[in-house]
């Protein structure tokens, strides 16, 4: 599937995985949060809007990764405590709790 095409809901998960794989490969050695979050594949995922939330939370559940910019961009929320800024494990936990509290996770 071309990454430039819009995906119907039934194909969204597959496209998400394709984009996430590309994003991981091409940002693996970067430390700049800005560069990581402005990668075209990541921006495309942000463009999915709320449909991306359960997909991102499922990824966070498997492995903490820098999905926080996308979640904040899509939801306008940041449930992470100031003391936990940058603490990836704690940030993932805060977002997973947010997902449960707001009905995005069972």
């Amino acid at each position: 599937m071309s990454l430039s095409t819009l995906a119907p809901p039934c194909q969204l998960a597959a496209l998400f995985q394709e984009l996430a794989t590309r994003w991981r490969q091409e940002t693996a050695f970067l430390s700049s949060t800005t560069e990581i979050a402005t990668h075209p594949a990541y921006q495309r995922i942000i463009g999915f809007g709320p449909q991306a939330i359960p997909l991102i939370l499922a990824e966070l559940k498997k492995k903490p990764e820098p999905w926080f910019w996308a979640l904040t961009a899509i939801t306008g929320e940041n449930p992470v405590a100031t003391d936990d800024q940058g603490k990836v494990q704690a940030m993932a936990k805060a977002w997973l709790n947010w997902g449960h509290e707001n009905g995005w996770l069972a």
Partner: protein, 151 residues
């Protein structure tokens, strides 16, 4: 050739060693600061850690100020000096991209983004991805300054 050597062709000579597993818990800036439990970056959304008294700007000056707060001062070069701990800031187009910390043996240690820590020759990381070394800083080994508490 592995992904690391593809991204940093100078490493293909094998003159480096992987010294940790790949984890996302910290990045190169934290590692240069001696931390391994949080990601440092002055991102505009305020998601990652940045010393609260330092401007959240992606500039060499902001990074210099952050490390001055830890007791570092500008250093002339990468030559090992007894009793000194040195760090290097890499930049591309005036924007910091990476930091490395000098080891006792004169070589350097880097956390490679979300990947492993490696021990390496400093200039082997220069190139397309990280640009070039833009600033050296150093501090006496016993002179670590604890970070001020946030608000």
């Amino acid at each position: 050739m592995n992904p690391l050597e593809m991204a940093f062709p100078a490493l293909a000579s094998g003159n480096y060693a992987v010294t940790s597993p790949a984890v996302s818990d910290y990045n190169c800036i934290a590692w240069a600061a001696g931390e391994s439990d949080r990601w440092w970056w002055p991102d505009p959304l305020g998601l990652n850690f940045w010393p609260p008294e330092i401007p959240r700007l992606e500039t060499i000056d902001s990074f210099r100020l952050a490390f001055e707060a830890l007791g570092f001062a500008k250093a002339k070069n990468d030559q090992p000096e007894p009793g000194m701990e040195k760090i290097a800031i890499f930049a591309q187009g005036g924007k910091p991209t990476h930091m490395a910390r000098q080891l006792e043996n004169g070589r350097w240690t880097s956390k490679m983004g979300q990947s492993e820590d490696i021990e390496h020759a400093l200039r082997d990381l220069e190139g397309v991805l990280y640009g070039e070394v833009a600033l050296f800083m150093g501090r006496p080994k016993s002179g670590a300054t604890p970070l001020a508490k946030g608000p």
